[in-house]
Symmetry: C2
Subunit: 245 residues, 2 copies
Protein backbone atom coordinates (compact mmCIF):
# COMPACT_ATOMS: atom_id res chain seq x y z
CA UNK A 1 0.00 0.00 0.00
CA UNK A 2 2.91 2.27 0.46
CA UNK A 3 3.16 4.87 -2.22
CA UNK A 4 6.73 6.01 -2.59
CA UNK A 5 7.13 9.76 -2.92
CA UNK A 6 10.09 10.16 -5.19
CA UNK A 7 10.66 13.70 -4.09
CA UNK A 8 11.35 12.57 -0.59
CA UNK A 9 13.32 9.42 -1.18
CA UNK A 10 16.20 9.41 1.22
CA UNK A 11 19.29 9.64 -0.91
CA UNK A 12 21.29 6.43 -0.74
CA UNK A 13 24.12 6.94 1.69
CA UNK A 14 27.63 7.00 0.34
CA UNK A 15 28.60 3.92 2.31
CA UNK A 16 25.91 1.84 0.62
CA UNK A 17 26.54 0.14 -2.63
CA UNK A 18 23.78 1.33 -4.94
CA UNK A 19 22.93 -1.22 -7.57
CA UNK A 20 20.48 -1.70 -10.34
CA UNK A 21 17.92 -4.25 -9.27
CA UNK A 22 18.87 -7.37 -11.15
CA UNK A 23 15.49 -8.93 -10.57
CA UNK A 24 13.19 -6.11 -11.49
CA UNK A 25 15.29 -3.83 -13.63
CA UNK A 26 14.27 -0.61 -11.94
CA UNK A 27 17.39 1.29 -11.09
CA UNK A 28 17.68 3.31 -7.91
CA UNK A 29 13.94 3.39 -7.33
CA UNK A 30 13.28 0.05 -5.75
CA UNK A 31 14.03 -1.61 -2.50
CA UNK A 32 17.08 -3.00 -4.25
CA UNK A 33 18.82 0.34 -4.27
CA UNK A 34 19.74 -0.10 -0.62
CA UNK A 35 21.04 -3.63 -0.99
CA UNK A 36 24.65 -4.64 -1.55
CA UNK A 37 25.76 -7.34 -3.98
CA UNK A 38 25.17 -10.25 -1.64
CA UNK A 39 21.75 -9.04 -0.59
CA UNK A 40 20.83 -8.37 -4.18
CA UNK A 41 21.85 -11.87 -5.04
CA UNK A 42 19.60 -13.24 -2.31
CA UNK A 43 16.74 -11.09 -3.47
CA UNK A 44 16.91 -11.88 -7.15
CA UNK A 45 16.92 -15.59 -6.46
CA UNK A 46 13.51 -15.42 -4.87
CA UNK A 47 11.90 -12.61 -6.84
CA UNK A 48 9.46 -13.18 -9.67
CA UNK A 49 8.72 -10.80 -12.50
CA UNK A 50 5.02 -10.74 -13.27
CA UNK A 51 2.90 -9.00 -15.90
CA UNK A 52 -0.71 -7.95 -15.60
CA UNK A 53 -3.13 -6.70 -18.24
CA UNK A 54 -5.74 -3.98 -17.69
CA UNK A 55 -8.36 -4.97 -15.06
CA UNK A 56 -6.37 -7.99 -13.86
CA UNK A 57 -6.55 -8.38 -10.09
CA UNK A 58 -3.15 -8.22 -8.41
CA UNK A 59 -4.20 -8.63 -4.80
CA UNK A 60 -7.60 -9.10 -3.16
CA UNK A 61 -8.62 -7.55 0.13
CA UNK A 62 -8.64 -10.16 2.85
CA UNK A 63 -6.32 -12.71 1.29
CA UNK A 64 -3.12 -13.75 3.07
CA UNK A 65 -0.45 -11.09 2.66
CA UNK A 66 2.33 -13.43 1.59
CA UNK A 67 3.98 -11.17 -0.96
CA UNK A 68 5.44 -7.75 -1.31
CA UNK A 69 5.50 -6.12 -4.73
CA UNK A 70 7.59 -3.48 -6.39
CA UNK A 71 5.88 -1.82 -9.35
CA UNK A 72 8.26 -1.66 -12.30
CA UNK A 73 5.94 -0.52 -15.05
CA UNK A 74 2.40 0.69 -15.66
CA UNK A 75 -0.16 1.95 -13.13
CA UNK A 76 -1.89 0.06 -10.31
CA UNK A 77 -5.05 1.13 -8.50
CA UNK A 78 -5.58 0.33 -4.81
CA UNK A 79 -9.15 0.32 -3.61
CA UNK A 80 -11.67 -0.76 -1.04
CA UNK A 81 -15.32 -1.65 -1.59
CA UNK A 82 -18.46 -1.25 0.50
CA UNK A 83 -20.91 -4.18 0.49
CA UNK A 84 -23.23 -2.40 -1.95
CA UNK A 85 -20.40 -1.85 -4.44
CA UNK A 86 -19.39 1.71 -3.72
CA UNK A 87 -15.66 1.96 -4.35
CA UNK A 88 -12.96 4.19 -2.93
CA UNK A 89 -9.62 4.21 -4.69
CA UNK A 90 -6.98 4.96 -2.08
CA UNK A 91 -4.07 5.42 -4.42
CA UNK A 92 -2.43 4.89 -7.77
CA UNK A 93 0.99 3.24 -7.83
CA UNK A 94 3.56 3.64 -10.58
CA UNK A 95 7.19 2.90 -11.29
CA UNK A 96 9.15 2.29 -8.11
CA UNK A 97 6.22 2.16 -5.70
CA UNK A 98 5.82 -0.57 -3.12
CA UNK A 99 2.70 -2.63 -2.75
CA UNK A 100 1.94 -4.69 0.33
CA UNK A 101 4.27 -3.18 2.90
CA UNK A 102 1.65 -3.23 5.67
CA UNK A 103 2.54 -5.61 8.44
CA UNK A 104 -0.89 -7.19 8.73
CA UNK A 105 -1.42 -10.89 8.06
CA UNK A 106 -3.96 -10.12 5.36
CA UNK A 107 -4.20 -7.39 2.77
CA UNK A 108 -6.60 -4.66 3.79
CA UNK A 109 -7.29 -3.46 0.25
CA UNK A 110 -7.43 -4.78 -3.30
CA UNK A 111 -5.16 -3.89 -6.21
CA UNK A 112 -5.77 -4.08 -9.96
CA UNK A 113 -3.81 -3.23 -13.08
CA UNK A 114 -4.98 0.01 -14.70
CA UNK A 115 -2.95 -0.58 -17.87
CA UNK A 116 -0.19 -3.04 -18.73
CA UNK A 117 1.64 -3.54 -15.44
CA UNK A 118 4.95 -5.11 -14.51
CA UNK A 119 5.80 -5.97 -10.94
CA UNK A 120 8.61 -7.67 -9.13
CA UNK A 121 7.26 -9.96 -6.43
CA UNK A 122 9.06 -11.09 -3.26
CA UNK A 123 7.89 -13.49 -0.56
CA UNK A 124 7.30 -11.38 2.52
CA UNK A 125 8.83 -13.93 4.85
CA UNK A 126 12.10 -13.51 3.05
CA UNK A 127 11.87 -9.76 3.29
CA UNK A 128 11.33 -10.00 7.02
CA UNK A 129 14.49 -11.98 7.51
CA UNK A 130 16.32 -9.44 5.37
CA UNK A 131 14.93 -6.73 7.62
CA UNK A 132 16.37 -8.47 10.65
CA UNK A 133 19.73 -8.74 8.93
CA UNK A 134 19.91 -5.22 7.59
CA UNK A 135 18.37 -2.65 9.91
CA UNK A 136 18.96 0.23 7.50
CA UNK A 137 16.32 -1.32 5.28
CA UNK A 138 13.84 -0.88 8.09
CA UNK A 139 14.68 2.75 8.40
CA UNK A 140 14.07 3.22 4.72
CA UNK A 141 10.72 1.48 4.90
CA UNK A 142 9.77 3.67 7.82
CA UNK A 143 10.58 6.67 5.68
CA UNK A 144 8.43 5.33 2.88
CA UNK A 145 5.51 4.66 5.22
CA UNK A 146 5.86 8.06 6.78
CA UNK A 147 5.68 9.78 3.40
CA UNK A 148 2.62 7.74 2.61
CA UNK A 149 0.96 9.01 5.76
CA UNK A 150 1.61 12.61 4.80
CA UNK A 151 0.00 11.97 1.42
CA UNK A 152 -2.93 10.20 3.05
CA UNK A 153 -3.61 13.26 5.17
CA UNK A 154 -3.56 15.52 2.13
CA UNK A 155 -6.05 13.17 0.51
CA UNK A 156 -8.32 13.41 3.57
CA UNK A 157 -8.30 17.17 3.23
CA UNK A 158 -9.14 16.79 -0.44
CA UNK A 159 -11.98 14.31 0.14
CA UNK A 160 -13.49 16.05 3.14
CA UNK A 161 -13.19 19.71 2.32
CA UNK A 162 -12.44 20.48 -1.33
CA UNK A 163 -14.88 21.25 -4.15
CA UNK A 164 -15.02 19.19 -7.34
CA UNK A 165 -12.91 21.74 -9.21
CA UNK A 166 -10.30 21.89 -6.44
CA UNK A 167 -10.21 18.09 -6.35
CA UNK A 168 -9.56 17.70 -10.07
CA UNK A 169 -6.92 20.41 -10.12
CA UNK A 170 -5.18 18.95 -7.05
CA UNK A 171 -5.21 15.57 -8.75
CA UNK A 172 -3.67 16.89 -11.96
CA UNK A 173 -0.99 18.75 -10.03
CA UNK A 174 -0.06 15.70 -7.99
CA UNK A 175 0.20 13.61 -11.16
CA UNK A 176 2.32 16.31 -12.74
CA UNK A 177 4.64 16.51 -9.75
CA UNK A 178 5.09 12.78 -9.63
CA UNK A 179 5.62 12.33 -13.36
CA UNK A 180 8.12 15.17 -13.39
CA UNK A 181 9.99 13.57 -10.49
CA UNK A 182 10.17 10.28 -12.37
CA UNK A 183 11.78 12.21 -15.18
CA UNK A 184 9.19 12.36 -17.92
CA UNK A 185 8.71 15.65 -19.66
CA UNK A 186 7.27 18.06 -17.13
CA UNK A 187 4.55 19.72 -19.10
CA UNK A 188 1.92 17.25 -20.34
CA UNK A 189 0.42 14.87 -17.80
CA UNK A 190 -0.50 11.31 -18.76
CA UNK A 191 -3.86 10.02 -17.52
CA UNK A 192 -3.78 6.25 -17.88
CA UNK A 193 -6.84 5.75 -15.67
CA UNK A 194 -10.50 6.11 -16.68
CA UNK A 195 -12.91 8.84 -15.62
CA UNK A 196 -14.53 6.40 -13.26
CA UNK A 197 -11.19 5.62 -11.62
CA UNK A 198 -10.60 9.33 -11.15
CA UNK A 199 -14.10 9.73 -9.74
CA UNK A 200 -13.63 6.93 -7.23
CA UNK A 201 -10.29 8.37 -6.21
CA UNK A 202 -11.67 11.87 -5.63
CA UNK A 203 -15.06 11.02 -4.15
CA UNK A 204 -17.03 12.20 -7.22
CA UNK A 205 -19.02 10.65 -10.08
CA UNK A 206 -17.76 10.17 -13.63
CA UNK A 207 -20.20 12.81 -14.84
CA UNK A 208 -18.85 15.41 -12.44
CA UNK A 209 -15.27 14.55 -13.41
CA UNK A 210 -16.17 14.93 -17.06
CA UNK A 211 -17.99 18.22 -16.56
CA UNK A 212 -15.14 19.61 -14.47
CA UNK A 213 -12.59 18.75 -17.15
CA UNK A 214 -14.80 20.55 -19.68
CA UNK A 215 -14.98 23.54 -17.39
CA UNK A 216 -11.20 23.69 -17.00
CA UNK A 217 -10.80 23.40 -20.76
CA UNK A 218 -13.21 26.32 -21.30
CA UNK A 219 -11.21 28.29 -18.67
CA UNK A 220 -8.01 27.58 -20.57
CA UNK A 221 -6.75 26.23 -17.27
CA UNK A 222 -5.87 22.98 -19.01
CA UNK A 223 -5.39 21.86 -22.61
CA UNK A 224 -6.09 18.37 -23.88
CA UNK A 225 -3.45 17.09 -26.28
CA UNK A 226 -3.42 14.15 -28.64
CA UNK A 227 -3.19 10.81 -26.84
CA UNK A 228 -5.20 12.11 -23.90
CA UNK A 229 -2.23 13.96 -22.44
CA UNK A 230 -3.18 17.03 -20.42
CA UNK A 231 -1.10 20.19 -20.59
CA UNK A 232 -1.01 22.47 -17.56
CA UNK A 233 -0.11 25.89 -18.98
CA UNK A 234 0.04 27.82 -15.70
CA UNK A 235 1.12 25.75 -12.72
CA UNK A 236 1.00 28.70 -10.33
CA UNK A 237 -2.55 29.54 -11.27
CA UNK A 238 -3.57 25.91 -10.87
CA UNK A 239 -1.84 25.71 -7.51
CA UNK A 240 -4.04 28.54 -6.30
CA UNK A 241 -7.15 26.89 -7.72
CA UNK A 242 -6.25 23.66 -5.93
CA UNK A 243 -6.43 25.27 -2.52
CA UNK A 244 -9.38 27.53 -3.21
CA UNK A 245 -7.76 30.94 -2.93
Amino acid sequence: MVNLDLNKLPVARADMVVNPCAACSVRDLSICSVLDEDELQQMSEIAANLQFSPHDPIIDEGEAADFLFNVTGGTVRLYKLLPDGRRQITGFLTNGDFLGIALNDNYTYSAEAVDQVNVCRFPRKKLESLLDQYPHLEKRLLGVASNELVQAQDQMMLLGRKTAKEKIVSFLLSLSKRQTAIGRAASPVALPMSRSDIADYLGLTTETVSRTFSLLKRDQSIRIQEGGMVALPDIDHLTELADGY
Copy 2:
Protein backbone atom coordinates in the same frame (compact mmCIF):
# COMPACT_ATOMS: atom_id res chain seq x y z
CA MET B 1 0.75 11.97 13.63
CA VAL B 2 0.79 8.30 14.20
CA ASN B 3 -2.32 7.04 15.84
CA LEU B 4 -1.59 3.88 17.74
CA ASP B 5 -4.19 1.18 17.30
CA LEU B 6 -4.20 -0.62 20.59
CA ASN B 7 -5.80 -3.69 19.09
CA LYS B 8 -2.86 -4.21 16.86
CA LEU B 9 0.01 -3.31 19.12
CA PRO B 10 2.70 -5.88 18.68
CA VAL B 11 2.89 -7.69 21.96
CA ALA B 12 6.16 -7.00 23.71
CA ARG B 13 8.47 -9.91 23.07
CA ALA B 14 9.47 -12.10 25.95
CA ASP B 15 13.11 -11.13 25.62
CA MET B 16 12.34 -7.47 26.18
CA VAL B 17 12.11 -6.02 29.59
CA VAL B 18 8.75 -4.33 29.76
CA ASN B 19 8.75 -1.38 32.09
CA PRO B 20 6.46 1.32 33.22
CA CYS B 21 7.50 4.58 31.65
CA ALA B 22 9.13 6.50 34.44
CA ALA B 23 8.89 9.74 32.55
CA CYS B 24 5.32 9.67 31.37
CA SER B 25 3.62 7.15 33.63
CA VAL B 26 1.79 5.31 30.90
CA ARG B 27 2.44 1.63 31.36
CA ASP B 28 2.83 -0.71 28.41
CA LEU B 29 1.28 1.73 25.96
CA SER B 30 4.13 4.03 25.21
CA ILE B 31 7.38 3.86 23.40
CA CYS B 32 8.89 3.09 26.78
CA SER B 33 7.42 -0.37 26.85
CA VAL B 34 10.11 -1.62 24.48
CA LEU B 35 13.00 -0.07 26.37
CA ASP B 36 15.14 -1.80 28.95
CA GLU B 37 16.27 -0.20 32.23
CA ASP B 38 19.25 1.62 30.75
CA GLU B 39 17.34 2.95 27.80
CA LEU B 40 14.51 4.02 30.04
CA GLN B 41 16.98 5.87 32.19
CA GLN B 42 18.30 7.70 29.13
CA MET B 43 14.79 8.55 28.05
CA SER B 44 13.47 9.85 31.31
CA GLU B 45 16.43 12.17 31.67
CA ILE B 46 15.49 14.02 28.53
CA ALA B 47 11.72 13.74 28.56
CA ALA B 48 9.43 16.53 29.69
CA ASN B 49 5.90 16.16 30.99
CA LEU B 50 3.68 18.90 29.64
CA GLN B 51 0.06 19.87 30.21
CA PHE B 52 -2.25 21.63 27.80
CA SER B 53 -5.69 23.15 28.34
CA PRO B 54 -8.55 23.01 25.83
CA HIS B 55 -7.71 24.85 22.58
CA ASP B 56 -4.01 25.16 23.41
CA PRO B 57 -1.83 24.63 20.35
CA ILE B 58 0.58 21.71 20.75
CA ILE B 59 2.27 21.83 17.37
CA ASP B 60 1.84 24.11 14.36
CA GLU B 61 2.01 22.97 10.77
CA GLY B 62 5.28 24.05 9.21
CA GLU B 63 7.33 24.52 12.35
CA ALA B 64 10.53 22.55 12.86
CA ALA B 65 9.74 18.99 13.94
CA ASP B 66 12.13 18.90 16.87
CA PHE B 67 10.00 16.87 19.24
CA LEU B 68 8.14 13.63 19.43
CA PHE B 69 5.20 13.34 21.83
CA ASN B 70 3.48 10.54 23.61
CA VAL B 71 -0.07 11.36 24.68
CA THR B 72 -0.61 10.31 28.29
CA GLY B 73 -3.99 11.86 29.01
CA GLY B 74 -6.85 13.67 27.31
CA THR B 75 -7.62 14.00 23.61
CA VAL B 76 -5.62 15.78 20.89
CA ARG B 77 -6.92 16.81 17.47
CA LEU B 78 -4.67 16.79 14.41
CA TYR B 79 -5.73 19.00 11.54
CA LYS B 80 -4.82 20.84 8.39
CA LEU B 81 -6.24 24.14 7.12
CA LEU B 82 -6.92 25.54 3.66
CA PRO B 83 -6.05 29.21 3.10
CA ASP B 84 -9.72 30.25 3.42
CA GLY B 85 -10.05 28.54 6.79
CA ARG B 86 -11.66 25.24 5.84
CA ARG B 87 -10.39 22.65 8.28
CA GLN B 88 -9.91 18.91 7.98
CA ILE B 89 -9.26 17.01 11.19
CA THR B 90 -7.14 14.01 10.28
CA GLY B 91 -7.30 12.23 13.61
CA PHE B 92 -7.94 12.29 17.32
CA LEU B 93 -5.17 11.01 19.59
CA THR B 94 -5.67 9.62 23.07
CA ASN B 95 -3.78 7.76 25.76
CA GLY B 96 -0.71 6.00 24.38
CA ASP B 97 -0.75 7.55 20.91
CA PHE B 98 2.34 9.00 19.32
CA LEU B 99 2.47 12.47 17.86
CA GLY B 100 5.17 13.63 15.48
CA ILE B 101 6.62 10.36 14.26
CA ALA B 102 6.86 11.51 10.64
CA LEU B 103 10.43 11.81 9.46
CA ASN B 104 10.04 15.19 7.80
CA ASP B 105 11.99 18.19 8.99
CA ASN B 106 8.81 20.13 9.64
CA TYR B 107 5.42 19.12 10.94
CA THR B 108 2.90 18.72 8.14
CA TYR B 109 -0.16 19.28 10.34
CA SER B 110 -1.18 21.13 13.48
CA ALA B 111 -2.25 19.68 16.81
CA GLU B 112 -4.39 21.17 19.58
CA ALA B 113 -5.71 20.01 22.92
CA VAL B 114 -9.40 19.07 22.81
CA ASP B 115 -9.69 18.84 26.59
CA GLN B 116 -7.10 18.74 29.38
CA VAL B 117 -4.13 16.98 27.80
CA ASN B 118 -0.95 15.48 29.20
CA VAL B 119 1.95 14.58 26.97
CA CYS B 120 5.45 13.30 27.42
CA ARG B 121 7.83 15.12 25.10
CA PHE B 122 11.18 13.83 23.76
CA PRO B 123 13.70 15.60 21.56
CA ARG B 124 13.60 13.82 18.23
CA LYS B 125 17.35 13.91 17.81
CA LYS B 126 17.67 11.80 20.88
CA LEU B 127 15.08 9.38 19.60
CA GLU B 128 16.96 9.02 16.37
CA SER B 129 20.13 8.03 18.13
CA LEU B 130 18.10 5.55 20.20
CA LEU B 131 16.77 4.17 16.93
CA ASP B 132 20.29 3.60 15.70
CA GLN B 133 21.19 1.85 18.93
CA TYR B 134 18.10 -0.31 19.20
CA PRO B 135 16.78 -1.50 15.85
CA HIS B 136 13.80 -3.28 17.37
CA LEU B 137 12.41 0.15 18.18
CA GLU B 138 12.37 0.91 14.50
CA LYS B 139 10.40 -2.21 13.77
CA ARG B 140 7.86 -1.19 16.32
CA LEU B 141 7.54 2.28 14.85
CA LEU B 142 7.09 0.75 11.42
CA GLY B 143 4.26 -1.32 12.85
CA VAL B 144 2.67 1.79 14.31
CA ALA B 145 2.96 3.70 11.04
CA SER B 146 1.58 0.78 9.11
CA ASN B 147 -1.51 0.59 11.33
CA GLU B 148 -1.97 4.29 10.87
CA LEU B 149 -2.00 3.81 7.11
CA VAL B 150 -4.71 1.19 7.34
CA GLN B 151 -6.83 3.57 9.39
CA ALA B 152 -6.14 6.40 6.96
CA GLN B 153 -7.49 4.29 4.12
CA ASP B 154 -10.65 3.51 6.04
CA GLN B 155 -11.06 7.21 6.62
CA MET B 156 -10.68 7.89 2.88
CA MET B 157 -13.49 5.42 2.21
CA LEU B 158 -15.57 7.19 4.83
CA LEU B 159 -14.90 10.68 3.50
CA GLY B 160 -15.26 9.83 -0.17
CA ARG B 161 -18.10 7.38 -0.27
CA LYS B 162 -20.21 7.25 2.90
CA THR B 163 -23.42 9.15 3.70
CA ALA B 164 -23.74 11.43 6.72
CA LYS B 165 -25.50 8.70 8.71
CA GLU B 166 -22.89 6.10 7.83
CA LYS B 167 -20.14 8.55 8.74
CA ILE B 168 -21.53 9.30 12.19
CA VAL B 169 -22.19 5.64 12.97
CA SER B 170 -18.71 4.64 11.77
CA PHE B 171 -17.25 7.34 13.97
CA LEU B 172 -19.15 6.19 17.05
CA LEU B 173 -18.14 2.59 16.46
CA SER B 174 -14.48 3.46 16.05
CA LEU B 175 -14.56 5.47 19.28
CA SER B 176 -16.29 2.58 21.00
CA LYS B 177 -13.73 0.06 19.77
CA ARG B 178 -10.83 2.19 20.83
CA GLN B 179 -12.24 3.08 24.25
CA THR B 180 -13.05 -0.56 24.88
CA ALA B 181 -9.50 -1.54 23.92
CA ILE B 182 -8.10 0.99 26.37
CA GLY B 183 -10.16 -0.73 29.01
CA ARG B 184 -12.96 1.66 29.83
CA ALA B 185 -16.41 0.21 30.18
CA ALA B 186 -17.47 -0.96 26.75
CA SER B 187 -20.97 0.34 26.55
CA PRO B 188 -21.16 4.14 26.74
CA VAL B 189 -18.86 6.14 24.47
CA ALA B 190 -17.32 9.41 25.64
CA LEU B 191 -17.37 12.32 23.18
CA PRO B 192 -14.86 14.87 24.45
CA MET B 193 -14.82 16.78 21.16
CA SER B 194 -17.33 19.37 19.98
CA ARG B 195 -19.83 18.97 17.14
CA SER B 196 -17.67 21.14 14.97
CA ASP B 197 -14.66 18.90 15.62
CA ILE B 198 -16.73 15.89 14.62
CA ALA B 199 -17.95 17.73 11.52
CA ASP B 200 -14.43 18.64 10.44
CA TYR B 201 -13.29 15.07 11.02
CA LEU B 202 -16.10 13.56 8.95
CA GLY B 203 -16.34 16.13 6.17
CA LEU B 204 -19.73 17.48 7.33
CA THR B 205 -21.13 20.63 8.96
CA THR B 206 -22.06 20.98 12.62
CA GLU B 207 -25.72 21.21 11.63
CA THR B 208 -25.63 17.93 9.76
CA VAL B 209 -23.82 16.25 12.65
CA SER B 210 -26.46 17.54 15.04
CA ARG B 211 -29.35 16.47 12.84
CA THR B 212 -27.86 13.04 12.31
CA PHE B 213 -27.44 12.51 16.05
CA SER B 214 -31.11 13.47 16.50
CA LEU B 215 -32.07 11.02 13.78
CA LEU B 216 -30.17 8.18 15.43
CA LYS B 217 -31.77 9.05 18.76
CA ARG B 218 -35.25 8.90 17.19
CA ASP B 219 -34.28 5.51 15.64
CA GLN B 220 -33.26 4.25 19.05
CA SER B 221 -29.97 3.44 17.38
CA ILE B 222 -28.17 5.43 20.07
CA ARG B 223 -29.08 6.75 23.51
CA ILE B 224 -27.63 9.90 25.05
CA GLN B 225 -26.78 9.50 28.71
CA GLU B 226 -25.93 12.04 31.38
CA GLY B 227 -22.53 13.65 30.88
CA GLY B 228 -22.85 13.46 27.12
CA MET B 229 -21.95 9.77 27.05
CA VAL B 230 -23.50 7.88 24.14
CA ALA B 231 -24.79 4.34 24.58
CA LEU B 232 -24.74 2.00 21.60
CA PRO B 233 -27.46 -0.56 22.36
CA ASP B 234 -26.99 -2.78 19.32
CA ILE B 235 -23.45 -2.88 17.98
CA ASP B 236 -24.30 -5.39 15.24
CA HIS B 237 -27.09 -3.22 13.92
CA LEU B 238 -24.83 -0.18 13.96
CA THR B 239 -22.08 -2.12 12.21
CA GLU B 240 -24.46 -2.77 9.35
CA LEU B 241 -25.56 0.87 9.27
CA ALA B 242 -21.92 1.96 9.12
CA ASP B 243 -21.33 0.14 5.85
CA GLY B 244 -24.69 0.85 4.29
CA TYR B 245 -26.12 -2.65 4.06
